[in-house]
Symmetry: none
Subunit: 414 residues, 2 copies
């Protein structure tokens, strides 16, 4: 089955909302092993919608529509499809009853145009709307399956999961299972990663290996197909092992993991606490960690030492260090990490100092960054980085680098 | 000019990301008065991309592509278009130099496939990439304008605004000017705002007034059309004044202002400094302020007092207060604000303490929040809030509330 998703709605073409429906349905279809080759967005215009449907009929045997099922004149998805397929629209009594009940329940007056929502394509399977009024529908004509879903994600998502997905599964003839896994990397660029595993990517089609880069990280999505879900997972394991042999040192997690969630998890496991001295990053490191529920077990706190005054008076960096080496320096990062650790009585102290831009500081170029890590009983490490990008990119990469560096040390000490 | 936006990338068809690029570009094109009739998403597949381009050529005279300009084999947008238009790809020396510099600066190894990014369509205007490696390009052939932009939003957005938009404006022949202005509100809900100005929204079509809610804020976008840009702006001024007479007390800024950028701006104007004691928010308040360039003038720093230990030992909240009133209490918020102000020698001290969830704390329900504000020479204020939403929503609304509260006090003291 090859699918195309057609979203109908001028609000999408005006940029008022993003087409998150297509994203959701694509994920769902990928899980069912149905290929999606095109997304199309078209406005509330019958002629252009008709053109979009005709194009889709040539290249897909499953066409899923979202939007345009409402009560107003703008809503013309089913009317257009009825016209194209030469099917009647008939009143669905159950849908009509549920619309009437909705108005009774919310004590609002039902206007005549609301009845329009209960019209469905003759012969279609009606998909119930448990969270709104307009029902969905699905039918197959001349080997093409058409599924019409409402536009509001709050109605569309449960309708698809509850009724649309089972309808499609009954249509699927094969029993192939699809399993996918995302490997998350830090500290390696997309092109270097691809170079390291180019032969693996080229040689194999099951699992497929798809790289994606963003926000200083790279991910590889492995997708395996097999009649048995267990066998598909085994295929994933084998490919993951082959990748890990080459670039395993850069892997930090799977699927929805983040560097921050992994760090919180690891610190909890090892029963260790952290405190941060944040100059460059202004509190973002602790803000990210404390965004995760349960962080109170492992985050002691921190000092946002944005000014030299606070570095000196609160975190006891000697004035001489600030005067000779500067705030953006290895000695300063070292002292900040050590002092914030003792100041907050934490097991691990981390410090971030650097030049976020737009202007150089202390004669040091934008992107100069020092990350200090102080752990009780170990020598303090200072990592010097030179990052590119704008202010926000530099700050984001800095805190991610800090997370990854602590994670590495925690793994080494296991 | 009628536009179609074609996004290229299998990650979109797999549902890994939503097509926010199409949303952004649609908004931008709407502002320029360019109609967008279709969005298309196609995978990293030359045959299907070619089909999509051919369909677009029949219905649009501006085709904007996003994605597929990177270094890997998957990236084939410009190659496919070059083939379709029978244009050569030529090495752009400036782009190549900037890629080489990027690798030099970040001390990473440049692999051969990175050079591919500097190839551009012969005769195209090259659009510089200030935030990444792959340049964009634009050219007009047979009355159709093709614009190729990179996929990562962080690169695509500034490239379009800086270089793509001016290119399109030079192509536009009509003389009607479109001016728009966004008014930003805090402390009033969308439905209340809409009720207050319902008659203004209904009665007028130039400017149009479009409300949008999100992240605890509401905005109104005013859009005016006129042959003269000056007259269009006058129309905006009049409508803005009418709105301000009703709900002006909730307006905090315009367009791309944020509560944080406004606070930094105001503090600079008044030459005042701020320091924060952050329990609930874990450093996010100072992180947001220091994300803005020039914050070093006004942010002294802060203490992330996530544990009671730090509240007591660093910020001198008496153990008795923590034992009887608790960390989430008015007295604690008051002392935290006062003490962080004196501790960091700032003009304004602000504190955030509360229950972010998922579980209640000290017998207080999730969403209980206290914001303390201490200003030299004034009595300390503590605002008690009861917020709804998940952990992140509560934290976000808390720091926004803090910003707005300080802004109000700064305005009052003018």
């Amino acid at each position: 089955m090859n699918a195309e998703i057609i979203a109908v709605g001028s609000e999408l073409l005006l940029g008022q909302i993003a087409n998150t429906n297509a994203q959701f349905l694509s994920q769902q279809l990928a899980e069912l092993g149905i290929n999606v080759y095109f997304h199309t967005v078209v406005g509330d215009n019958a002629t252009r919608l008709e053109a979009a449907v005709k194009a889709a009929q040539k290249r897909a045997n499953l066409i899923i529509f979202t939007g345009g099922l409402g009560p107003t004149k703008d809503d013309l998805t089913k009317e257009t499809i009825a016209h194209l397929l030469q099917r009647e629209l008939v009143m669905d009594q159950e849908a009509l009853r549920s619309i009437e009940e909705y108005f009774k329940r919310t004590k609002r007056t039902m206007t005549e145009n609301n009845k329009k929502q209960a019209l469905v394509l003759q012969g279609a399977e009606v998909l119930k709307n448990d969270y709104g009024m307009a029902p969905g529908m699905a039918l197959t004509i001349a080997s093409i399956t058409y599924m019409l879903l409402p536009g509001p994600p709050k109605e569309m998502r449960p309708m698809f999961i509850q009724y649309g997905r089972p309808f499609l599964m009954s249509k699927l003839e094969r029993h192939e299972r699809i399993e996918s896994r995302v490997l998350r990397f830090f500290g390696i660029g997309e092109s270097q990663l691809e170079t390291e595993i180019a032969d693996l990517i080229d040689q194999q089609s099951n699992p497929t290996i798809a790289p994606l880069a963003g926000d200083g990280e790279v991910t590889l999505r492995l997708t395996a197909k097999h009649e048995s879900s267990l066998e598909a997972k085994k295929l994933l394991d084998e490919t993951e092992a082959a990748i890990a042999r080459r670039v395993g040192q850069y892997v930090y997690g799977y699927d929805n993991d983040t560097l921050f969630s992994k760090l919180v998890e690891r610190l909890k496991e090892q029963n260790k606490t952290v405190a941060a001295a944040e100059s460059l990053t202004g509190g973002r490191f602790t803000a990210e960690l404390t965004a995760i529920s349960g962080a109170s077990q492992i985050v002691k706190g921190g000092v946002v030492c944005y000014t030299n005054e606070i570095k000196e008076q609160v975190l006891s960096v000697p004035a001489s260090v600030l005067a000779t080496d500067g705030a953006v320096s290895e000695p300063c990062a070292k002292l900040l990490a050590e002092h914030v650790r003792s100041f907050c009585k934490a097991d691990i102290g981390i410090s971030f100092t650097g030049v976020a831009g737009p202007d150089p500081l202390e004669g040091k170029p934008v992107g100069t960054v020092y990350v200090g890590i102080s752990i009780s009983g170990q020598e303090t490490e200072v990592h010097a980085l030179l990052l590119s990008g704008d202010r926000e990119t530099i700050r984001t990469r800095t805190i991610k680098y800090g997370c990854f560096a602590i994670l590495k040390k925690l793994t080494a000490s296991l």
